[in-house]
Amino acid sequence: MSWFEKLMPTRIRTEGGNKRTVPEGLWTKCDACASVIYRAELERNQEVCPKCGHHMRIRARRRLQAFLDEAGREELFSRIEPVDMLRFRDSKKYRDRLNQAQKGTGESDALIVMQGQVQGIPLVASAFDFAFMGGSMGSVVGERFVRAVNHCLERELPLVCFSASGGARMQEALFSLMQMAKTSAALGRMKQAGLPYISVMTDPTMGGVSASLAMLGDVHIAEPNALIGFAGPRVIEQTVRETLPEGFQRSEFLLEHGAIDMIVDRREMRDKVARLLGIFMHRSAS
């Protein structure tokens, strides 16, 4: 404490600790345009660069909070937690990787499911947390997703899923591969029930997640410039021994090739999804 602070009455003294609660770096540099942005402003803007519109990755919980109406949103199925069924060990134990991911992210696994409303339309929304082991899909992600589908079926609700994933979780080996079949099968029931499922692909949506639940939507939306595909660009480059074309596997490329319906700015996602669901659910125009 400096002599100056000692002079101040304790009531006005700001605790040193307060300063440290501000996330390190009040300023963030945009990956795309290199502008320096005030962190709080970026957060208000849902991690979209206010200067160039570049979409940075956003945590799943923050995404759902921004997407859903504030009133009446509720997290579902969070009590389903991962287990290390194979005692998988590479350079690290899977158990340790899980602990580390849970401590680092504050989440128990890579998919968060919430029930709520978007502009008054009731729905179930789920989002992958890329910060949790690369958003990889293991048993918990698969089970939470299927429960989300069942929740929709029981209550005749539409489903929205924001993917952000490197693919299947290797540490759960074939169990994780089977989650592709499991989630795809469950989505078939949504189709049979005539309930809409909107898949929003965000950066990145790859491998087993892209080749299952992400590509089975009634409507496919992508955020601008997201990497979306089956095989990773490096694997493709090594296989075909060519340099990949500019913009390969980016949202704009997928739109051009007919894989997605539209590219939507994160800040307009609520409006867009509400409008689409309003039509599919035959709600009267607002």
Binding site: E81, L177, A185, M215
Partner: protein
């Protein structure tokens, strides 16, 4: 057929070479060495038995990829009659990495679909090493829907390193093609039996691998990622492939233990390539008995059981 021996089979290879040499001498000279040959053959058999009794996952991966391993067309020729290959996805192309068509199994009509690898360099290239592109999966889907219309059971045979990672494959929607098959197969209104006959490479395998039964030949493998791929990502070195293979538990026995597959079909001593005829018989018998079982079930029950089973995949904890 000249056998192609793998690294861990070298002691067997040496013995077999010695036997060949003796036979050659035997033809030439008048001396009777048949006794010696018989003794060595017996030794070779018991050596093979002891080596094959304790194969590790990586060695089994080598067997699954053995250059002489029987491929789909080898089994079709031995097991089925009246095979008529059907080509094309009706939209873009025919993908030779996937073979499909109608046939008869002991007289009963069936639909066959599976990946086909190539034997020599030219065929390998033609078949793209058994790595399908989206049009291959879309052809498979078309044939499954045909099978559904004509009430033909679908038999799929999995043998692929994976879906092809290429520029065109991505442009034409590899992910979508695989995803759509997963969903369609879960709902297909006809019995579906999937058998891994060689390599079960990840999503590219699963895309024709959803059904009422999942069988594996004893020395085939099924994995979410190749051992080499897993090693280079998690161990940062492709040389750790053997360790990765073990950790991933890619063998038929392990997957049966884990409850992920329904049955293991035993292979002849030394692997399917040592006696393709016998292997084909084993496979045919198994397919027949599974098919009889599935045919006896009402379609509704069949579909509900298939769906329930898919939903049960996975291990997790649920806190109270």
């Amino acid at each position: 057929m000249d056998l192609n021996f793998l690294d861990f089979e070298q002691p067997i290879a040496e013995l077999e070479a010695k036997i060949e040499e003796l036979r050659y001498v035997g033809d030439d000279a008048e001396i009777n060495i048949s006794e010696e040959i018989r003794r060595l053959e017996e030794k070779s058999r018991s050596l093979t038995q002891s080596i094959f009794a304790k194969l590790n996952a990586w060695q089994i991966a080598q067997l699954a990829r053995h250059p002489q391993r029987p491929y789909l067309l080898d089994y079709i020729a031995r097991i089925f009659t009246d095979f008529e290959e059907l080509h094309g996805d009706r939209a873009f192309a025919d993908d030779p990495a996937i073979v499909g068509g109608v046939a008869r199994l002991e007289g009963e009509p069936v639909m066959l679909i599976g990946q086909q690898k190539g034997r020599d360099t030219r065929e390998k290239l033609h078949r793209n090493f058994g790595m399908p592109r989206p049009e291959g999966y879309r052809k498979a889907l078309r044939l499954m829907q045909t099978a559904e219309r004509f009430k033909l059971p679908v038999l799929t045979f999995i043998d692929t390193p994976g879906a092809y990672p290429g520029i065109g494959a991505e442009e034409r929607g590899q992910s979508e093609a695989i995803a759509r098959n997963l969903q369609a197969m879960a709902e297909l209104k006809t019995p579906v039996i999937c058998t891994v006959i060689g390599e079960g490479g990840s999503g590219g395998a699963l895309a024709i691998g959803v059904g009422d039964r999942l069988l594996m030949l004893e020395y085939s493998t099924y994995s979410v990622i190749s051992p080499e791929g897993c090693a280079s990502i998690l161990w940062k070195s492709a040389e750790k492939a053997a360790e990765a293979a073990e950790a991933l538990g890619i063998t038929s026995r392990r997957l049966l233990e884990l409850g992920l597959i329904d049955a293991v079909i035993e292979e002849p001593l030394g692997g399917a390539h040592r006696d393709p005829e016998h292997m084909a018989e084993q496979l045919r018998d198994r397919l027949l008995s599974e098919l009889t079982d599935l045919r006896s079930q009402p379609l509704d029950t069949l579909l509900e059981t298939r769906y329930r089973r898919l939903l049960e995949f996975g291990e997790y904890n649920e806190k109270a």
